[in-house]
């Protein structure tokens, strides 16, 4: 056997790389969801009265809402009473520095390739690592504090900056926005909070790694980013989850609030466990992400690389309220085996001279279904709004599906809205050309796919782009031939 074949064999038989369970003692709430459980979470987290009321209000609204059935996905009904809504790694005291952290935790991160110590020294990224629901370590906090930037876990922000949290939480995604957002508002356990003061340009990329760990726990984080006038921040979110057979629910909410001339760039690489090749297991990912360009000249940019999850339900959106504000959405969504993705973006133009751009690249392989669902809405008073959307789909194999559902609603005559979409497969001539040049088929596919997704990958920060490229190749292994 040639060496090439060996390598190929190794690659194709590769299982999910990040699949293992670390042995952490957890401190969990009993199964089920009720007002008592919410009180339990709130007490556990030592929350003020107003937050408990807010949660309870969300819970009551959630009980009245119905689970949406419109997405192009199918999954067995979720029993919300069979989940554990709170699970925290047991720790005696809050860690002051990395040495205080449970060595098991450090090992977990090392396996993921994001050792905190390494990260701290080499990349200069401040990592707010989340295992299950409680943020365990925040690095580079001091450096950021000097500039007045607040970057901490959500629970910390509730304790230390209640006025900011109270003012902005729910201002972009109201509690009753949708089923999963309401659920999150009721039971969220932690997340990240970030505030960039007036005129400050955040000198480093802020990053959070989310991990789902204990079996049967839903993870409900909440991220709130507030960018004050003229500030800039680039925020990274990366997800990997250990292998599990039982489906796990993940319903996060991300809110971004951008004031006058502020710029927020939010990048995600999502690699939750997608289930095995027979469609068993995997994460259910129901996420509400929304940015509000509140001030004039503000800009919010979403970039996402979605390779994981059994089910992805996610529509990062921008509400362009301020005049001259701008929204962007760049996405690569890859589905393989039995994965299902229904993802896209919403751009709501309210202010004058608002601009938005949507670039979505879907890749489906195996038995997967990949849908783009988006809306571009130009409100009556939005003069000179401009939108360009492009959503392309690449099909690999004859068992998968690619779908597009773009809604374009224009109520102002001065708007210029363009939308285009294509669906095709990788050209045999392209593969043939690569083979001629001595590039084997697997690498050729990776090469072509990377080229196809380049427009989006280019938007990612450097380190992330490398990881994303690897992920793309990994996800599509063995899907051609």
């Amino acid at each position: 056997m040639s060496k090439d074949n060996q390598v190929l064999e190794e690659l194709t038989s590769k299982e999910y790389e990040h699949g293992w369970t670390s042995d952490l003692e957890t401190d969990s709430a009993p199964k089920g969801l009720s007002e008592d459980i919410i009180r339990f979470i709130s007490t556990k987290k030592n929350e003020p009265e107003w937050l408990l009321d807010w949660r309870l209000d969300a819970y009551r609204q959630w009980s009245k809402l119905k689970e949406p059935t419109w997405p192009n996905i199918s999954y067995p009904a979720i029993n919300y009473q069979d989940l554990i809504y709170y699970s925290a790694p047991k720790q005696k005291a809050k860690p002051k520095n990395l040495e205080d952290i449970d060595p098991e935790l450090i090992k977990t991160f090392e396996k993921l390739g994001i050792s905190l110590t390494e990260q701290k020294r080499l990349t200069g990224i401040a990592v707010d690592a989340v295992i299950d629901s409680v943020s365990v370590a925040t690095t580079y906090k001091d450096t950021l504090a000097e500039l007045g930037i607040i970057f901490c876990s959500f629970s910390e922000a509730v304790q230390e900056h209640p006025e900011l949290v109270k003012k902005y939480m729910g201002s972009v995604v109201p509690v009753n926005d949708n089923y999963f957002a309401a659920l999150n508002a009721a039971v969220f356990t932690d997340g990240s909070f970030c505030y960039i003061p007036k005129g400050v340009r955040c000198p480093m990329e802020l990053s959070t790694y989310f991990r789902i760990n204990a079996a049967n726990t839903g993870q409900f984080e909440r991220t709130l980013i507030v960018a004050d006038e003229g500030s800039y921040v680039s925020y990274l979110e990366g997800c990997t989850a250990p292998m599990r057979d039982e489906n796990q629910l993940h319903a996060a909410v991300v809110e971004i609030y951008a004031m006058k001339d502020a710029q927020v760039k939010y990048s995600t690489v999502q690699n939750w466990y997608p289930g095995d090749k027979n469609g068993k297991g995997g994460i259910y990912n129901f996420v509400t992400k929304r940015g509000l360009c509140f001030g004039d000249g503000s800009k919010i940019s979403w970039t996402q690389v979605e390779t994981g999850s059994a089910i992805t339900w996610k529509y990062p959106s921008c509400i362009l309220k301020g005049n001259n504000s701008m929204g962007e959405f760049y996405s690569v969504a890859v589905t393989n085996n039995y994965q299902q993705a229904d993802t896209g973006s919403k751009m709501i133009h309210i202010g004058n001279n608002t601009k938005s751009r949507i670039v979505s690249k879907g890749i489906s392989a195996g038995h997967s279904q990949n849908s783009y669902r988006g809306q571009v809405k130009i409100m009556k008073r939005a003069e000179n709004a401009r939108n360009f959307s492009q959503c392309d789909s690449l099909l690999m194999g004859d068992q998968c599906g690619a779908h597009t559902f773009p809604y374009i609603d224009v109520e102002n005559k001065s708007a210029r809205v363009e939308h285009e979409a294509t669906t095709s497969k990788i050209g045999e001539d392209q593969i043939f050309y690569c083979l001629q040049r001595g590039i084997d088929e697997e690498s050729a596919v990776a090469l072509i796919v990377n080229g196809y997704a380049k427009e989006v990958l280019n938007q990612l920060p450097m380190e992330f782009a490398v990881e994303a490229q690897k992920l793309l190749a990994l996800t599509l292994e063995g899907s051609v031939g």
Binding site: W70, K380, S393, L395, M396, G397, D398, Q399, C400, G401, A402, H403, T404, F405, P406, Y407, I408, D409, V410, E411, N412, K413, S414, A415, R416, V417, E418, H419, E420, A421, T422, T423, S424, K425
Partner: protein, 438 residues
């Protein structure tokens, strides 16, 4: 009897109508019953219904429509003034949904074209009519289709035998006499085109009088192997027309279909156009043009269902919206798993001329096969001010320049009209309208 269309009582009314409708073949009666059940289950679409999201049809229909008009009082209307003078051909007239033999005339030889009232054909046991009737229009997915299937009375049955090249077009005039009161009609058509045959069918919708009137038509067309159908729909009714029309075309291998939908007037026009490409080597083109102003709502929902490999479909819909008008477009392309080597294209372009006009468009691709080329594009904008300025510098006044540019926008659709006299007629219609109303 007068019928108010409301969610709650509509099904009872439809049931009433079934009891009164022309009694037919037992097979047809069971189809009606099934359709009624489907209608009762579906109910009229409310605001949340995905397919009628932007089209407030149910609220607009809450008026008293006189359904009996089509049965009890024959209209004395002279349909000639609605004819297209320059286009000669076989003429079929339906007044208030009633097939009018007196005004119809078939000039093509009987071995080339066979035209009758569909209810007569079914009652008379026409095997072709019985074989194809209600096989294609799906009553379970749309309330209006179910309503029509349950309660229709008259319609046109056209049968073209094999190997017939029909030179003279067939013109169907749907005329509502709304002078005395509000009229409602549900007509049902079936076209069966034999193998290797060719035919042009032109449908035109008009009305007399000022009252509101509503028509709910369903047309099924079966296009056999190697056959060729040109289907035109001219909707230029200056009266208060509310219309829901479904046209379902079922294509067999190597057939060619060109459809044209021109919507120039009316209160609310909803066109459901469905093509199923059930064979290999099929070619289908769908062209649409909507030039609307005032309070008109023009809603085009098209579906192309690629069921077999190696077919080609192309769709171009263009719209100009002025006044308070509203344009809605939804184009679905389905490519089934076995339909490899499919090429499907779709484009929808819109111009908004006023601040109160709106457009809602949703091009939709659903693809389950990998070896395909599919694309859609859609744009919304206004006239290019630089081009307008350029024309003005050449001594052309602003109004003419505007009309010229709008005409140029529409020409992509107009140029595809094959029938020469018809092309001239529509061309005139469009340019007159662009000069006077926009």
């Amino acid at each position: 009897m007068s019928v108010t269309v409301k969610e709650k009582n509509a099904s009872a009314e439809v049931k009433n109508l079934i009891d009164k409708s022309v009694s037919l073949n037992p097979a047809v009666i069971s189809i009606r019953k099934e359709a009624l059940e489907a209608f009762q289950k579906l109910g009229l679409p409310d605001k949340k219904a995905e397919e009628y999201r932007h089209t407030p049809i149910t609220s607009l229909l809450q008026r008293d429509f006189d359904y009996d008009a089509l049965l009890s009082k024959p209209s004395d209307l002279d349909p000639k003034e609605y004819f297209i003078p320059s286009v000669k051909g076989n003429i079929i007239v339906l007044i208030n949904g009633v097939y009018s033999s007196a005004h119809s005339s078939v000039i093509s030889p009987a071995d080339e074209v066979h035209i009758t009232n569909l209810s007569e054909a079914l009652a008379g046991g026409d095997t072709m009519a019985l074989e194809h009737f209600a096989k294609y229009a799906d009553v379970k997915s749309d309330a209006f289709t179910a309503w029509n299937t349950a309660s229709w009375n008259h319609g046109v049955f056209i049968r073209i035998p094999e190997n017939a090249i029909v030179q003279t077009p067939i013109l169907i005039y749907h005329i509502h006499d709304a002078r005395a009161g509000q009229v409602m009609s549900a007509s049902r058509n079936l076209f069966v085109i034999g193998r290797h045959s060719e035919v042009t069918i032109i449908e035109k919708f008009d009305s007399a009088g000022l009252s509101h009137h509503f028509s709910n038509t369903v047309t099924e067309a079966v296009v056999s192997e190697n056959a060729h159908l040109e289907l035109y729909s001219i909707q230029n009714d200056a009266g208060s027309r509310y219309q829901v029309g479904l046209t379902h075309i079922h294509q067999a291998g190597s057939s060619l279909v060109n459809t044209f939908t021109f919507t120039l007037n009316g209160k609310l026009i909803r066109n459901n156009l469905q093509l199923s490409l059930d064979g290999e080597g099929i070619e289908s083109h769908m062209f649409g043009l909507y030039l609307i102003t005032d309070d008109t709502v023009a809603d085009n929902h098209t579906t192309v269902d690629h069921r077999k490999p190696n077919s080609f479909s192309n769709e171009i819909y263009k719209g100009i919206m002025d006044g308070n008008s509203k344009g809605v477009f939804n184009g679905k392309i389905y490519v089934r798993p076995q339909a490899q080597k499919t090429n499907a294209f779709q484009s929808n372009k819109n111009i908004l001329l006023s601040d109160k006009a709106t457009v809602n468009t949703k091009p939709q691709l659903e693809i389950w096969a990998d070896d395909v080329k599919c694309s859609h594009g859609c744009t919304t904008g206004q006239l290019d001010s630089e081009a307008l300025f350029y024309l003005q510098t050449r001594g052309i006044n602003k109004e003419t320049a505007r009309a010229m540019m709008l005409y140029a926008f529409a020409i992509e659709v107009l140029n595809n009209v094959k029938h020469a006299e018809l092309k001239t007629y529509i061309d005139q219609l469009v340019s007159e309208r662009l000069h006077t109303n926009f």
